[in-house]
């Protein structure tokens, strides 16, 4: 077995037992990147930069010697972080994101090259990148999902042991489902957002991509916790998430929201998810039909609130202090040309929509109304979690679609996040775990949701399911 194909917990055991060295592991992953990334294109700015950015500070930490890849919107001091956008060309942050500092303290090896993404995380396919698309390791003609498509694809292709992404409306869970890996969006406030280049500040969370549930726990143990640099990070003790593993799920109450099994759900995805629910029942869980009656409003609410917040957050990219600047003798012209040339189509579309929703005369009809409907969506979750320990749904309505299939139709693209957006609006944690394949060999993801700070329930259920199945061990042929 090649080292690059193992999980972090398997590798940590070998590293601690001195059976392998961190250098051997690093060169194994590096070789794998050399051999496969020309097909997958999970990484950006790859040439000559695959080495770790520096020697880790700790050689005995919780992730000592484990190579980890980062989405291109996570700031690392002195190394390129461009959100896959022309407007941030050449940007090298002057500081590390809090999660990066924590990873370094835990001895992880941070890869210098970062993973591909939709520009500023705007998208569901990783096609909106100024570096071009990433290819799904299971079928190179298909998208890896998005916006964290590079992080999902590099873990699926064994080009990284673990990776971090960010999730604003499904950008970790949907690509995890498309690529057949485990992807977690933590509770809003669980992980510090300091150093994550902001998309929608009330929705964004950083989270892990891993090959199995145990690795997700290990990474969450390191990155979770309160941070004075992020006023929305919550002062709440971080449990040892690995303690949630290996427990049975007898009597665990699982809600199945009927609004997630509707027209538009691919029949093969539906079958795989129903088989997974039957398996969970066999393992002793209690299955209940529940309703989240305002689910249909999640996508429209998201595309008002997410774009409104984005239009405000992206106002900082004006070409004056960093990144790309278009030349003009006049200040206003400099702004307009810089932003007109620097942003891609989807970024422009979202900034315009968000600015419109916040503008005089439309604020009440769009933005304020969306904030109120968000309350209804959150109330739906509060109500079902009085009776259920967690919810189980498909992660995405279809398996991975073809590159180019939806890129000319923004609305169809937005609908691929129909099952993931609610968790961001309600702030609840949600995880996607592999639950089988379509006949064409494309992975299907099972989404588990729990109440705020219920990550332990996600891990407990996800691990019980993983122990009873082998889907997470399947590898694409590359």
């Amino acid at each position: 077995m090649e080292l690059y194909s193992l999980t972090a917990h398997e590798l940590l055991e070998q590293l601690r037992g001195k059976k392998i060295s961190a250098e051997q592991l690093r060169s194994s992953v590096s070789q794998r990147i050399d051999d496969t990334d020309s097909k997958v294109k999970a990484y950006v700015r790859l040439s000559g930069s695959r080495q770790a950015q520096e020697q880790p500070k700790a050689d005995s930490g919780a992730l000592a010697g484990i190579p980890i890849s980062l989405k291109d919107n996570l700031c690392t001091e002195g190394s390129s972080t461009e959100c896959c956008s022309r407007i941030l060309a050449g940007f090298k942050p002057p500081y590390d994101a809090t999660v990066i500092r924590k990873l370094k303290e835990a001895g992880a090896i941070i890869l210098e090259t970062k993973t591909n993404m939709d520009e500023f995380a705007f998208g569901s396919s990783t096609e909106n990148s100024c570096f071009g698309p990433t290819h799904n390791p299971w079928d190179l003609d298909r998208v890896p999902g998005g916006s964290s498509g590079g992080s999902a694809a590099c873990v699926a292709a064994d080009e990284a042991i673990m990776a971090l992404g960010s999730d604003t409306g499904g950008s970790i869970r949907q690509p995890a489902a498309f690529c057949g890996v485990v992807g977690l969006k933590p509770t809003y406030g669980r992980v510090s957002r300091y150093g994550l280049i902001a998309f929608a500040s009330s929705l964004d969370q950083i989270g892990p991509f891993t090959k199995d549930i145990r690795d997700s726990c290990l990474l969450m143990n390191v990155i979770s916790g309160h941070d004075p640099m992020d006023a929305t990070s919550v002062e709440r003790e971080v449990p040892d998430y690995t303690q949630s593993l290996g427990k049975d799920i007898k009597g665990l109450k699982i809600g199945i929201p009927k609004e997630y099994f509707i027209e538009g759900l691919d029949p093969e995805v539906k079958n795989r998810v129903e088989e997974a629910i039957a398996k969970l029942k066999n393992l002793g869980a209690v299955i209940k039909d529940v309703s989240l009656p305002h689910t249909q409003y999640a996508v429209p609410v998201y595309y008002i609130l997410g774009t409104a917040e984005a239009s405000s957050n992206l106002a900082r990219f004006d070409g004056l202090q960093y990144g790309f600047r278009a030349k003009s003798p006049k200040l206003i012209e400099t702004y307009k040309k810089t932003r007109g040339e620097g942003f891609g189509q989807e970024a422009k579309r979202r900034i315009l929509l968000g600015t419109f929703a916040l503008s005089h005369g439309y604020y009440d009809a769009y933005y304020l109304k969306a904030l109120k409907v968000r309350t209804l969506i959150k109330n739906d979750f509060d109500a079902v979690f009085k009776d259920c320990d967690c919810l189980v749904t498909p992660t995405a309505p279809t398996p991975a679609f073809k590159i180019g299939e939806k890129s000319q139709d923004p609305l169809q693209m937005y609908l691929s996040d129909i099952y993931t957006i609610s968790a961001n609006l309600a702030g609840v944690p949600a995880i996607s775990v592999p639950c089988g394949f379509t006949r064409a060999g494309l992975p299907v993801g099972l989404q588990i949701l729990a109440e705020p700070f219920g990550e332990e329930t996600l891990f407990r259920l996800g691990h019980a399911y993983e122990q009873a199945t082998d889907w997470h061990k399947m590898k694409p042929k590359l």
């Binding site: 009330s202 929305t232 202090q321 003009s328 307009k336 932003r339 209804l376 959150k378 923004p410 702030g427």
Partner: protein
């Protein structure tokens, strides 16, 4: 509602984004589709519902009022598209 090219042009000016004529045409059409989809929100019964701007039960988080270090000038200027001595160089602000 209908979103005209005039409104999109106005919003683009507010957003300080220069659009080419074909972009204005295409984006107006796409925004019209998206807003048509979003209009289903008018069916939601929001009478008496309070807005949720974020989901955490915390507000007015303050840090200790104590001095801390800040970025040194050379780090602050390291990414500047144009700089001179200790300053960012930008086009004239006041005509």
């Amino acid at each position: 509602m209908a979103i005209s090219q005039e409104i999109v042009k106005y919003v683009a000016d507010l957003s300080r984004i220069e659009l080419k004529p074909e972009e204005l045409e295409r984006l107006s059409r796409q925004l019209q589709d998206i807003l048509g989809f979003i209009d289903q929100l008018s069916k939601a019964d929001i009478a008496g519902v309070a807005p949720t701007s974020h989901i955490l039960p915390i507000s007015n988080v303050l840090r200790d009022d104590s001095p801390k270090g800040s970025l040194p000038i050379e780090k602050t200027l390291a990414n500047a598209p144009q700089k001179r001595t200790n300053f960012f160089v930008v086009p004239k602000v006041i005509e």
